[in-house]
Symmetry: C2
Subunit: 391 residues, 2 copies
């Protein structure tokens, strides 16, 4: 008999900013044996992934595929493929991920035009337009659809018109919105949109779905200087993805199995039903948290369904509450990032985890823990159940 | 009952240049449910991965971890973290992957000093030294330990002395050698060494194990200009890996499970036994191929055990033979890359696939196919079995 020690991860309910738990079907699909990256059987897998990603992104873009890195890699690829030294880029910063984009712009040697907003408020198209007026010829502007650091859902109306008026490129971060909120890339005139797989898709982290308009692909192909990155050179990767011939790198094949299965689950549920489910569980959670006596960080019209930020009450020990949730209940929630560190908790209800069981269990656990930590709270269960009863 | 279509990949014996088949234990480990990237349970996983990677690389380097991309990402990260515009880099090019390194050097805006050798021959330390004499102050030199495009095993003796004499940095590509050949980073004075996971480790593609000497980390930390890539910024990633606190990106957690299990299998087998196994199966394959009447592309002293290149006989249709192997036997072997396209087949015997069953089945299949394709061949089985009988 051969014996060995194997790692058995503890059972967790992942209600943090991501990763989310993975659908069982996805884990099973991903555990199938390997094939080569030119295997004929992958041709259909890839074209199905493209078809289903187009559905989730709301686009007809030819260039729609997963890059071989996490959502952060999607952000980097989106910006570096478009920007060259000397270009100007306008970045809306209302959270940590807008700030990341700004950092990448600077690392590219491009000129950063930074539009700051409060961490908890959206960016308005007028702000982008005002910046474009001053910096005519800016190559792109970018905003974050779902700010994972603040819980803000960025409304997308009005940006398309700005992009058209100033003949510029619209880049959108949809890491925490794809498959949880409508993204509608084509309707909103988004030129480059990227996401991750470990959020509302409930697949493991490791891929970055991305879609680029014909115009964006032309910009990436027409660079004066070759992109520094070979690995994230989108036109080169597109050649492998689309022709199934040119070797670029060995892609993460088991992740293709995983992504395909995750996207099929999305299609089976239906996008509208999925968005409605995310919204209902979000509303129930908010009702429950408020009934506990907690306050949301973001105003109602700008709240994400996938990522809920709630203020940590004064005198309550952030780390202690999160530690007890993890140890006593196996529940992970997120602490604040950047300027919100110690000020908010981040509660994700994404993909398979956006369900009444998650909401009710978390509320029950908080109801047990908070009074011991100096916050005398009510009960959230009845309020959440009332939301579910209304449907 | 809910039904759905799921992708079931065809059963393949992957004897190409990689990916290799994945160990069953690795697939099972990888299908465990997700935990968060700050989960306390990952602390031990990460430190075990580091311990076992140090063993495989033959190093005591503190900075030893898997980057969140494929082997190609490892190559890119190794070079871009060290090079800045204006630096000079000497690259030994004796195959497609040396050529890739050269391309990345140019994409960095560094000055490329290219040492070319025949595709099938190694690079000699004297060639690097001659280049260093002319280009004193070159920041690094790099060679490929296992050229996946040619089947050449690069001897590592002598480079350390050259690096010391010229106070420069030694970068080594070990994508197709790690866990199949001794790498011995510390003994050979290698400063940066990277690999992939889908070759002799028999894990899925998607991670790039890398190790950096203290000197290399100092260079990466002491850059004048911030690295363009945030995602592949090694000092930033090291902070997450080592402290388990700083958020950098959401790492591919299920891949950590996979890599840990793959490395445990390596440790259980023992490195020396594993190298001997790779060598024995390689020798049996070569004996068999030569008995079939085929000729190896590389001279005996420079042959890789993990990747065998054999000349395609005149008048034999490359694609047809590979197509029949795949369709009739489910066996994938690789065609030639670059200047070797149409001239050689690439036969990988890596990790779990380096075993007598792979060798004998491939020889038997070739013995069936080649005569139909105009090459009257002998039998390879007896010759291979003779090698196994000697052990």
């Amino acid at each position: 008999m051969t014996t060995s020690t194997t790692f058995h991860p503890p059972a967790r309910l992942l209600l943090g900013p991501g990763p989310s738990n993975v659908e069982d079907r996805v884990l099973r699909a991903m555990s199938a044996q390997m094939v080569g990256y030119f295997d004929p059987s992958l041709v259909e897998v890839k074209s199905e992934i493209t078809r289903l990603l187009r559905l989730a992104f709301g686009t007809l873009n030819a260039a729609t595929f997963p890059l071989s890195g996490t959502g952060m890699a999607g952000m980097e690829a989106a910006l570096i493929n478009l920007l060259e030294a000397g270009d100007r880029a306008i970045i809306g910063v209302n959270g940590a991920f807008g700030d990341r984009m700004a950092q990448i712009v600077e690392r590219c040697g491009a000129t950063l035009i930074r539009i700051d907003a409060e961490w908890g408020r959206p960016i308005f198209p007028e702000q982008i337009e005002a910046a474009l007026k001053k910096a005519s010829g800016a190559k792109l502007f970018a905003v974050v659809h779902a700010e994972t650091s603040t819980g803000v859902l960025q409304p997308l109306e009005g940006f398309r018109q700005v992009a058209e008026r100033y003949q510029t490129t619209f880049v959108l971060d949809a890491v925490t919105s794809l498959a949880g909120h409508p993204v509608e890339v084509d309707r909103h005139g988004v030129d480059v949109c990227y996401s991750g797989t470990q959020k509302a898709l409930s697949a493991p982290p490791g891929m970055a779905p991305i879609t680029l308009s014909a115009r964006a692909m032309e910009l990436a192909r027409g660079r004066k200087r070759k992109l520094q990155s070979f690995y994230f050179d989108v036109p080169l990767f597109a050649e492998y993805w689309e022709t199934h011939q040119a070797y670029h790198h060995t892609p993460p094949i088991t992740f293709y199995y995983a992504l395909l299965e995750a996207l099929r689950i999305v299609e089976e549920e239906g996008l509208e039903a999925r968005f409605a489910r995310h919204r209902l569980n979000h509303l129930a959670l908010v009702a429950g948290l408020e009934a506990l006596g907690l306050q949301m960080h973001v105003e109602a019209p700008y709240r994400l369904a996938t990522l809920n930020t709630v203020k940590i009450p004064a005198d309550v020990d952030d780390a202690k509450v999160r530690g007890r949730l993890l140890r006593e209940f196996g529940i992970e929630i997120g602490g604040g990032l950047g300027v919100l560190k110690g000020k908010v908790w981040r509660i994700g209800l994404m993909g398979v985890n956006s369900r009444p069981n998650s909401v009710l269990l978390l509320l029950a656990a908080l109801e047990r823990i908070l009074p011991n930590e100096g916050f005398s709270c009510g009960s959230g269960i009845a309020a959440a159940n009332a939301v579910y009863a209304q449907g």
